[in-house]
Symmetry: C2
Subunit: 260 residues, 2 copies
């Protein structure tokens, strides 16, 4: 029987405010068993960029990462956000290590080919190397992963954190029973984006297609859900979309994805 591994991706407002981040880390730390944390930090990056006079350009929720913006995300994701999370986990006596995809060569990517849009130094994941990470995880270390990858030729790249979490989940499902949790502000996937309580408890592929067609599911949710269903298709045991509260209540609220 494989060990269980919980991969939590946290992003949005939760990460950006000291108080909510501290609360989240406490709840995350209390999850039983082996775990990995993948974090975002987009709002902090945008704010840091603006302080440096660098304009943030987004297309379909994806950041255009020119050379200057790449430096900002490497500083903010790989430095500021990542290391503060690690220090806070250590304060809870949780052995943790902050990583990017370049560290231990764990996530490689290629610079996204330019089609209609030049996303700059945006990385599309090509390979996840879990070997070194597995040793850490088995030894009780929590990898804290920033959404940065590298191309194997010395170039760092900016990779979407939801994708990063899904790619790690898929790769680890070769040797663990992986549950992937997307943790954000909302209580789960909403049937009506204007009603925070309209959580869909169980979302399968056909219901997803239906809600997508009707426009009920918010456009911003689509990449996350595509990542989630993609992970299920490639062996991840469970994918769950919820907020911090559900970490506290043992995932009894939120949206559980299933293939059928």
């Amino acid at each position: 029987m494989y060990d269980r591994l919980t991969i939590v991706k946290v992003g949005g407002k939760v990460v950006e405010e000291a108080e909510s981040l501290r609360e989240f880390i406490k709840d995350f730390a209390s999850i039983a068993g082996q775990k990995i944390l993948v974090h975002g930090g987009g709002r902090s990056a945008t704010s840091m960029a603006s302080q440096l006079g660098i304009e943030t350009k987004m297309v379909d929720g994806r950041r255009i990462t020119d050379k200057e913006m790449l430096d900002v995300v490497v500083m903010v994701y790989g430095g500021l956000v990542n290391k503060n999370i690690v220090a806070q986990l250590q304060a809870l006596n949780k052995q943790a290590v902050g990583l990017t995809g370049a560290d231990l060569d764990c996530v490689r990517a290629i610079k996204r080919p330019v089609k209609d849009i030049d996303y700059g130094y945006a990385g599309d994941v090509t390979a996840v190397n879990t070997e070194q990470l597995e040793d850490l995880v088995i030894n009780g270390v929590i990898p804290v992963v920033a959404p940065l990858t590298h191309n194997g030729q010395g170039q760092l790249l900016n990779t979407n954190a939801d994708t990063m979490a899904a790619e790690l989940a898929k790769a680890f499902s070769r040797s663990f029973r992986v549950q992937l949790v997307y943790c954000f502000e909302k209580k789960g996937v909403l049937e009506n984006p204007d009603d925070d309580n309209s959580v869909i408890p169980n979302l399968n592929m056909s219901l997803y297609e239906e809600h997508k067609a009707s426009g009920a599911i918010n456009a911003g949710m689509i990449p996350k859900l595509d990542n989630g269903f993609g992970a299920l298709k490639q062996g991840v045991s469970g994918v769950f979309i919820s907020n911090v509260e559900s970490l506290k209540n043992g995932f009894t609220t939120g949206t559980l994805l299933s293939l059928d």
Copy 2:
């Protein structure tokens, strides 16, 4: 017989310019056997702080680290400099992992007590935990260490990179035959600070005291040398002060410290 471990600290201009950093990394990567890299990045931090409108204050070569400056050094040392070095090592097929003292709980410190000067979030090292690092080093991974520590209560701290390297060297000398190399712009410790060729090839304690008393040894060198001699006294096998050239020529130029 213990394995040999080479700990190189690199700082100054070498780290700050893309071209010299790339050259350095190539030379560092070619050092035989197990190794650890400790880097600085002070000039980049000063320049980033200035772009953010934050004034850099130094006392006796040490940075005053208020809350805002701490964020800058965490971003620049822990993010920008550290992750770019790791990505470049990976490009040379060297398995590397970028760490701060918070990662794997490897270097703890206390906030420097305020006496005459309030250094802010400056960390004085209290404990080095080599357990997890040893596993990595033995598995051929190169730890790339940024000069940041943590206090075990969630607070990151700014620690001098020369000190960081010396503390790691002392702790590792319990299980490795450690050579510590301080790599900077100069060819070695100079007898005459104005003459770049006046390298002292062998510097023992009594000669050091003599040169200190006469003022021949530059004030900026004193903390580095105190760290170096301190490391020798606590079991480090060899301490060497030199420039990048000496990495290429197998340490045949530069200054070798000895206790007597």
